[in-house]
């Protein structure tokens, strides 16, 4: 591994986004390490027998609800020849059967049957010492918090609530308050950029007031609004919080070329926002190490799951949701406001485009480094948006885990 440049985490060398060795170490130490990876919403597997496919890092995983109603996460890889045995994206079943040699498993991953185990007409068969119990599917540890399901490859991961820390747990529980969730649907995209750029984007309030005309003009997230950036003690999780501002020019908007005082919506129902959470915050964007972004912008709620695809690409899987007790007007509101987000988002398009351009910009000159000094060089919580402290905090944790 190359040495980290001088300047601590106020410099981020571009090789962390390009180097295959760094990427391999990330898979081992982060995604398959002592972390809690988002894998599903409990509402996607409400009944015993339900399953849904997901991915941890690059590892295909199936989340199931077994006969006893417990959640399980198993690697989608047959214990015999390694096939990704589950091909349906989601569904309901009592057993999984690999199509190749029809080894079958229950919903906890236990091996149930091996065809011709005792041979045919006295020929062949498995050795006498073959024991089914030794050949189940690889299992992950599972944690559920208020309808959100996480999994860990680690044998002894920390308690999820301790992992998240008190501050970030409080923000998490604001959206996931114990009400049953209702999945509204999915949006998925593949972006030719390193996965960390997506995390940094949500930890970077500095860009939001400049890049996003739509956010700035309608005051949805803007540097002159009351706001805060809060980390957990390790720096691995963070949250950006803000309240909506007005569409009125002031001293701060004068520096924002993207502020358009005269822009009017012909379809104002897009931003027919109602207050639904306690407190003044109207936007709360949370990043939970290592693969989850929780989005609450006005009334559009989503979990965005990061799936890595080599150093130079990631997938972002957006699950938009509401609550089971939403009335029709609230469902419609959420569906309309979803226009802001996703691969065609009136706001989010800007982000996927700049991440693609970032990867292109530094790929061939990755000994250079990014300058991350807005708001100083520290990693403290702030009460404003003019900072990159959450990115520095992220890399403080990242360097510790990666030994870089």
């Amino acid at each position: 591994m190359r040495p980290w440049p001088d300047g601590g985490t106020s410099r981020v060398p571009y090789w962390v986004y390009t180097d295959p060795d760094v990427y391999r170490r990330e898979q081992e130490r982060i995604f398959q390490g002592p972390t809690w990876n988002y894998v599903a919403l409990a509402a996607e597997v409400p009944e015993p027998g339900d399953f849904t496919r997901t991915t941890v890092g690059e590892v295909p995983v199936v989340v199931t609800r077994d006969r006893r109603g417990e959640l399980n996460a198993v690697v989608n890889r047959c214990a015999h020849r390694g096939l990704q045995f589950c091909v349906a994206p989601s569904g309901h079943t009592t057993t999984f059967t690999c199509p190749y040699h029809q080894w079958s498993y229950d919903l906890t991953g236990r091996l149930l049957g091996v065809p011709f185990k005792k041979g045919v007409n006295g020929h062949g068969g498995m050795p006498a010492d073959f024991v089914n119990a030794d050949h189940g599917l690889a299992r992950l540890r599972v944690a559920e918090r208020h309808g959100v399901v996480f999994a860990s490859f680690d044998a002894d991961p920390p308690l999820f609530e301790e992992y998240l820390g008190a501050t970030n747990l409080g923000w998490f529980d604001r959206v996931f308050d114990g009400r049953t969730l209702r999945v509204l649907g999915y949006q998925r995209q593949r972006v030719p950029a390193n996965w960390k750029l997506m995390f940094e984007n949500i930890k970077d309030p500095y860009h939001a007031s400049l890049l996003h005309v739509f956010l700035v003009t309608f005051g949805l997230f803007r540097a002159d609004s009351p706001s805060a950036t809060q980390m957990d003690p390790t720096g691995q999780h963070s949250v950006l919080v803000a309240s909506r501002g007005e569409q009125r020019a002031n001293a701060a908007t004068a520096e924002m070329a993207s502020f358009r005082a005269d822009l009017r919506l012909a379809g104002p129902e897009l931003l027919d926002v109602v207050r639904e959470f306690p407190g003044a915050a109207t936007v709360v964007m949370q990043t939970i190490w290592p693969n989850l972004i929780v989005q609450q912008q006005s009334n559009t709620l989503a979990v965005r799951q990061l799936v890595t695809a080599g150093p130079g690409a990631f997938e972002l899987h957006w699950t938009f949701f509401g609550y089971a007790d939403d009335d029709d007007a609230m469902v419609e509101r959420r569906l309309r406001q979803a226009n802001l987000m996703g691969p065609a988002g009136l706001v989010s398009i800007d982000d996927s485009e700049v991440m693609r351009l970032a990867q292109r910009g530094f790929a061939a000159t990755d000994d250079a480094a990014a300058v991350v000094e807005m708001g100083g060089r520290d990693t403290d919580d702030t009460e404003h948006m003019v900072t990159e402290a959450a990115i520095r905090a992220f890399y403080t944790h990242y360097r510790r885990v990666m030994e870089l």
Partner: protein
């Protein structure tokens, strides 16, 4: 009066041409004032999930979508081209139900064009004094993953 197959073919050819030319005002004008326009991932459609990737309820939201593409969003320059085939007239009730296949190519900057999206339109076409218009247009795209971003309507 049920439109002829030729009328429908012309309608889809005009639709594709407006998008390829970047004439988003003309694109908006191909819808009725209270039209619904959806671009939906097939997984949502097949499972009865209501989320769309683009959702415009009425002309106002179509106008806003056109305006943001032209003037508020940041994206790298690109050329898109829409190929519509297999236009089928399924029946006339309140409007004419049609389906058609679409294929959209995208050429970014100096890169070669590649297939961006494929899928099926499920539309309702109505006759107006100004000609045939879409009262509802649902573009259901096949693969779940969108490559980077979906800037232009489908």
């Amino acid at each position: 009066m049920t439109p002829s197959r030729q009328d429908l073919r012309d309608l889809y050819d005009d639709y594709a041409a407006h998008l390829d030319d970047g004439d988003l005002d003309a694109w908006v004008d191909m819808f009725t004032d209270d039209a619904q326009y959806l671009v939906v991932a097939r997984e949502n459609w097949d499972r009865g999930l209501p989320l769309a990737t683009i959702r415009c309820d009425g002309r106002g939201m179509l106008v806003d979508r056109a305006h943001t593409i032209r003037s508020t969003q940041f994206y790298a320059p690109r050329v898109v081209r829409h190929f519509v085939s297999g236009v089928r007239l399924l029946g006339a009730d309140s409007g004419v139900a049609c389906t058609a296949n679409f294929l959209v190519t995208e050429a970014l900057e100096l890169e070669p064009a590649r297939i961006h999206l494929t899928g099926q339109y499920r539309d309702t076409v109505v006759a107006t004094p100004a000609g045939l218009r879409f009262a509802r247009k649902v573009a259901i795209y096949d693969g779940a993953l969108v490559q980077t971003s979906l800037v232009h309507p489908v």
